[in-house]
């Protein structure tokens, strides 16, 4: 069974600074997707960034980028130029990629990010 671990329950960053959130996962599959979701206090889960396991290039979306280390099964999220609106719970998630109706996403327990003005 796949597992996702986020070892940092809470993180804090100063506005305009950079922060990195950690995620490790365990799987025996070779083809899968990894995601970072953001869940603000309003609770809507928003997709931040996704990474295809078969791509070596790290995904980037504006101020958000990932460091994907497939051999180490590590998938960290870097937020540059942090903004107050980045404050939220961040979830790392895994999903199998090659089956029709790939089914469930497996989530970590989240990291609460606080942004200080």
């Amino acid at each position: 069974a796949q597992t996702v671990t986020q070892s940092q329950p809470e993180m804090s960053v100063q506005e305009a600074e950079t922060v990195t959130l950690s995620c490790t996962y365990d799987t025996s599959e070779s083809d899968y997707y990894l995601f970072w979701y953001k869940q603000p206090p309003s609770r809507q889960m928003i997709l931040v960034i996704r990474q295809e396991a078969y791509k070596q290039q790290n995904a980037t979306e504006n101020r958000f980028s990932v460091n994907f280390q497939k051999a180490a099964k590590s998938f960290s999220l870097k937020i540059s130029d942090s903004q107050l609106g980045d404050a939220a719970m961040y979830f790392c998630a895994y999903r199998r990629g090659y089956h029709t109706n790939a089914g469930k996403s497996t989530f970590g327990d989240g990291t609460t990010l606080t942004v200080k003005p």
Binding site: V4, Y33, F35, Y37, S42, R43, Q44, M45, I46, L47, R50, E52, F91, A93, R95, G97, Y98, T100, N101, A102, G103, K104, S105, T106, F107, G108, D109, G110
Partner: protein
Amino acid sequence: DAGVTQSPTHLIKTRGQQVTLRCSPKSGHDTVSWYQQALGQGPQFIFQYYEEEERQRGNFPDRFSGHQYPNYSSELNVNALLLGDSALYLCASSSSGQARQETQYFGPGTRLLVL
């Protein structure tokens, strides 16, 4: 482009009662998954519906059941409610037309409180 919608936003029930939660997928999506998110934890997969059938199920008892309609909307039913069923219930949709269907989009959730 309409995103995933869920109703109601909040619900209070008592132990032993039954509840029905509703979800309309994002426009163009035909696959719906349901998740339970306890306070301070990540979402846990309940089940997924595609072509009006349950395709995959997580580790949840038979008290949790669902349905998908021809318009792809879905319901989650929970019978014989327990205090431990209090949680945020999230609906996520995806498209079978996507290559590998890798991305799920989530609704705002329904907060269920069981007293």
